[in-house]
Symmetry: C2
Subunit: 341 residues, 2 copies
């Protein structure tokens, strides 16, 4: 039976939280590779919070998805036909080829996977989220032995790695996650020293208990009330890599006052805080270091990882909506090819 080309289109921009109406599944014939091109059959698609930004036309570091255009994202897939000497049929690649079951590419920007490299983790611990955790923590956070590293969204794609890398560097790792199951996983499986449930009452008090020496590095994925609970705990010279702000991606207006910017700046000044935003490609020069270190840590078992696997491209929109609500547990990937291992 001939395969169908399936793709997810953004039909309209979300006003606040995305809804299923903002997406449409389109079907058609599988495209063919032209001169110098390859055809890729998608195995897994990565879903990441940053994609919410691409759905908006507010100015940002990347161009937005067009209304009526293909949703953007990275996938891993198999080369199924090739007119490009750099890629052989049967090889696996990772690339930003969008939410679709098949993709034609001239090969530019694709990353070839080693034979036998596990596919879903290539989009997580060994991919962009892994490098985000590695570079943001080491380049901006710069944890030292004995310091306390606090990370929000600690069971998510990036957070789960931040705490483990912090431990490898001799720091105390404390996570913040939603719900007791995630918190238990973060401590018992990943080896964080503590994890605070932001859905349970008393978060601020629990955070304080879990960070008896204060916070030296706060790896920010969340913003909002979680940040407010962390804020009083900053030590002198604390560093705050700003990686994501998932709590405010669906925000349509600023929260009620008072305006706390002066309070924030006062702490920046008196405690000499560093607050620095980044995206992973700002540290592209560290990619080789990341690939070497992370592959070794995964192989040795020093770094564990967990993927949240959703079956079927048609379920990508609902999985993405759930990801923004924190319903995932681990790095979210969509199994696009039913036979993907």
């Amino acid at each position: 039976m001939a395969e169908t080309h399936r793709r997810i289109i953004m039909t309209s921009r979300p006003k606040a939280e995305p809804t299923p109406d903002n997406f449409r599944l389109e079907e058609g014939p599988v495209p063919k590779a032209g001169a110098g091109e390859i055809l890729v059959r998608t195995k897994y698609l990565s879903l990441d919070p940053y994609m919410r930004g691409r759905m908006s036309d507010a100015a940002s570091y990347a161009a937005p998805v067009e209304v009526g255009g293909l949703m953007q994202g990275e996938l891993v897939g198999e080369v199924v036909s090739s007119d490009n000497e750099k890629f052989k049929v049967g090889e696996h690649i990772a690339g930003h080829l969008g939410w679709q079951s098949h993709a034609v590419s001239n090969g530019k920007g694709l990353r070839k996977l080693d034979a036998g490299q596990p596919l879903a983790p290539s989009l997580g611990v060994l991919g962009m989220p892994g490098m985000t955790a590695y570079t943001g923590l080491l380049e901006i956070g710069q944890p030292k032995a004995g310091e306390t590293v606090l990370v929000a969204a600690a069971s998510g794609a990036v957070g789960q790695l931040v705490g483990q890398i912090a431990k490898l560097k001799g720091a105390r790792a404390v996570g913040i996650a939603g719900g007791p199951e995630k918190c238990r996983y973060v401590v018992e499986e990943l080896g964080f020293d503590a994890c605070i449930d932001h859905k349970a009452p008393g978060m601020a008090e629990h955070l304080k208990e879990a960070c008896p020496k204060g916070v030296d590095v706060y790896f920010e994925n969340v913003g909002g009330p979680v940040f407010e609970a962390v804020f009083p705990l900053f030590n002198f010279f604390a560093r705050m890599p700003v990686c994501g702000l998932i709590s405010q991606y669906n925000m349509t207006e600023l929260p009620a006052g008072p305006n706390k910017v002066p309070q924030l700046f006062r702490a920046v000044l008196t405690k000499r805080l560093t607050i620095r935003g980044f995206i992973v490609w700002d540290f592209a020069a560290r990619e080789a270091d990341f690939r070497r270190d992370m592959a070794a840590w995964v192989k040795s078992g020093e770094i564990k990882h967990r993927e949240h696997i959703v079956d079927g491209l048609e379920n990508a929109p609902s999985a993405f909506i759930g990801l923004l609500r924190g319903e995932n547990f681990g790095k979210t990937v969509v199994r696009v090819a039913p036979d993907a291992k």
Copy 2:
């Protein structure tokens, strides 16, 4: 006629803006140097915005002045008697010896001035404010040739130097100052490329015109509405050394909402801003570099400086209150010894 020892005591903590009631002039006999000590006769006293923080008992990087205690601050003075072999009568020193006409010291923490070094500038361009400008701009701001450096309180002790150092590094220097006279001075005497009057209407629009390529470094001395006008102009990867927040030192409650922290963090993330607070002693390792470079720049005339000289220790409180209102024009120093040159 015997000299009198005069000192300014903090009688109560200010609630908002300090008032003359918060201070008292005390007189008594001139103290005597004991074993290993020296007696210093004050020539000039430095007044600096950070002292407002010392009058408050809110947690900060330095212990507050005690109620009933001597106001803290740096002075330059002459050694008038010495039982310490490191200091000779007639030498001049700078040190944090407080708001007083005479001080006894064991010599610890004092900095000896070179013979003939001008005294008032030793508290400004060649002292703590000079090193603050030098280290904050070069270590955190890191201006590159062709970039735009914007500095608030541009005619003040630190701001006047920040823009001139930026020019020496090949950057465009834009100042913000209060009133046309200060702005004219900043451009015509100090050589900034532009200076915007924050007391005139249309500051945000004028800033935008003065920074046609946006802002790469914003040296923050002020906070509040000035920051809000600068905020939209940040370029990608802009750096913001937070040196002072004079607009909010007298603040008793946070301003009305909305809460703009999420808006700030969104810009930090998407523009990859760096916001970092500092005080000068964080960069103590750069002191020798500062002394070498700044002395050379002042000598060659590449760096100009202006002191705002107030006569009489008894006028220090009103001069300090005026400094917090922006009434000074240049580095504020009090001539404590009527004969000081």
